[in-house]
Symmetry: C2
Subunit: 324 residues, 2 copies
């Protein structure tokens, strides 16, 4: 039995890491008996508006974990920092091939740091909603900086912008068409670009990459009025060389406080609205999947060769018609 939610939350607020880990385990539970306890927890989780939610995105191989390891190592000297990493399971067998825990070895055991891979399991599946709950839990525990690391591709990258206040994009120095593949929506969401692993590349290539981002940004309006998206260089070879990126992060949150039209709370309210819509759709879909008639009809498809010869749209309409 999970002890009373109220007690757990109190312990979490007092900095009890075991209670925090237990709450994470709870929200990842798929056991029916935990269903109501999770809902009770959700009902009591309120956001902490003092926190700073920072997404770290970028192509695979950009060095996100290494970067976080370095920045957080320096930041944690004065602040409590949580790191959540989102690693969406593959459709077939779950999980990416390489883990990244070993890349955060300098911060894994720090008193001020809490690291948790964001599971995609749990009743309230959907990475976005689950990560949001994870953020709220870390906020209860008084973590001031919350980093959300994403694999940086496809839908996950798009939804993470609805979870954070500040969106950092890690790019590698690359000549030529380096921007190919970065969607316009992502370009708009980026609040700062970090050209990473600069120690490994030629000064010319780095400069050309910077210029390319600079030029692209000149065509795109920032979500945050008056904020010019900084493009900075970073190498994660030396520990504690993160002064520049930390200054940018702090400057951004100061900017949010003085900017009258785009304050953090308004932006967060918009993000929550997005999550509500997202999750409402999911509950609605679950109703279909749990429907016995639907299940029967899908089952019947298994043994029918006709499915290969009639257009799926036609067949789908027939299934829905038979339900209603």
């Amino acid at each position: 039995m999970f002890e009373h939610i109220h007690n757990t939350l109190e312990k979490i607020k007092q900095g009890d890491r075991r209670a925090l880990s237990k709450a994470f385990t709870l929200i990842e539970s798929t056991s029916v008996s935990d269903h109501n306890t999770i809902l009770e927890l959700f009902a009591q989780l309120k956001p902490n508006n003092q926190s700073k939610r920072i997404a770290i995105s970028g192509v695979p191989g950009a060095g996100k974990s290494t970067f976080i390891n370095h920045v957080v190592h320096q930041l944690a000297q004065k602040h409590k920092v949580a790191v959540l990493s989102i690693d969406p399971a593959s459709e077939r067998s779950g999980g990416s091939i390489l883990g990244d825990k070993t890349r955060m070895q300098d911060i894994a055991n720090l008193e001020n740091v809490f690291i948790r891979p964001s599971s995609t399991r749990g009743f309230y599946g959907g990475i976005a909603v689950h990560t949001y709950s994870s953020i709220l839990l870390c906020e209860q525990a008084g973590y001031e900086y919350i980093f959300i690391e994403t694999v940086g591709v496809g839908q996950t990258e798009i939804s993470v912008q609805h979870l954070c206040d500040f969106f950092v994009y890690l790019a590698l120095p690359k000549a030529g068409d380096a921007l190919q593949g970065i969607k316009k929506g992502i370009m708009e969401a980026i609040d700062t670009v970090v050209i990473h692993k600069t120690d490994l590349y030629d000064e010319k290539v780095i400069l050309s990459t910077k210029n390319m981002f600079k030029e692209s940004f000149s065509f795109i309006q920032s979500k945050h009025k008056g904020w010019t998206k900084p493009i900075i260089e970073h190498s994660s070879v030396q520990i504690d060389n993160s002064t520049q990126i930390i200054s940018v992060i702090k400057a951004f949150f100061e900017h949010l406080q003085v900017s009258p039209s785009h304050d953090k709370i308004k932006n967060r309210a918009l993000n929550v609205k997005h999550l509500i819509e997202h999750f409402t759709k999911q509950i609605w879909l679950d109703k279909l999947l749990a429907n016995k008639h639907y299940q029967d009809q899908i089952q019947r498809l298994e043994n029918s060769d006709a499915k290969a010869f009639y257009h799926p749209v036609i067949q789908a309409y027939k299934i829905i018609e038979a339900l209603t």
Copy 2:
């Protein structure tokens, strides 16, 4: 007014490219008045089991368009080839930053080649379903080889494996952790790997990339019994040097014909089942989005600050409860 569907299909079968283009424009239409005509077309579109559906995937920058340009140039000397490129619109403003039409200039005007970017618009949205309809249209027109180019990230990459018979993955030579970011599900779906742009890389790096794929494949069972996934080198600098990849493609389809347990039709039937499930969910979801009560409640969120303070799961459940 769109002329009678039956006539259009007849013209398409006789090789009338204008009729084919018109049918594509029809299925991309978002006009309500075209709704029934599209359904009528879908009802008459039957797959052609002689065709070869080939997906080309890989990270942005891997050179997919250039590769297709080269392979199709050689293939089209003897065969009719269609190229469909899937470019999922970004969430916010649609479209990637760079187009790729210029990279297929050698094949754009060939008699035997039909190129069409796969729109994500249309009533029957969802890239997978739309692309499937596009494939069927090309099959009506007698295209023997149908290439489906994807941006190779996230959901699109996962769904494209349900549209093709043969899945080609383009990789760049890369030392170290080059496999990072390729999901296990994709590794399983891959039928052959092409190490691309080999002219630009050192022999050692190419060999190490090949070995890495080879090792990974040794842990993964092929979907197609008896098919060992070839890992081949390719450079798209010289035109008409595609003999090796074309041999692999042909060998694969011959393999499917002699393999008793995994024939093409069985696999296609499975894929269509997947599309039916996918589209049934979409129709179901559209019912929610069209619901007036739902729309009202989402509208009400706009002006409420409470949404920022209560967990989205709790708020979503309230919305669904109020509907039913």
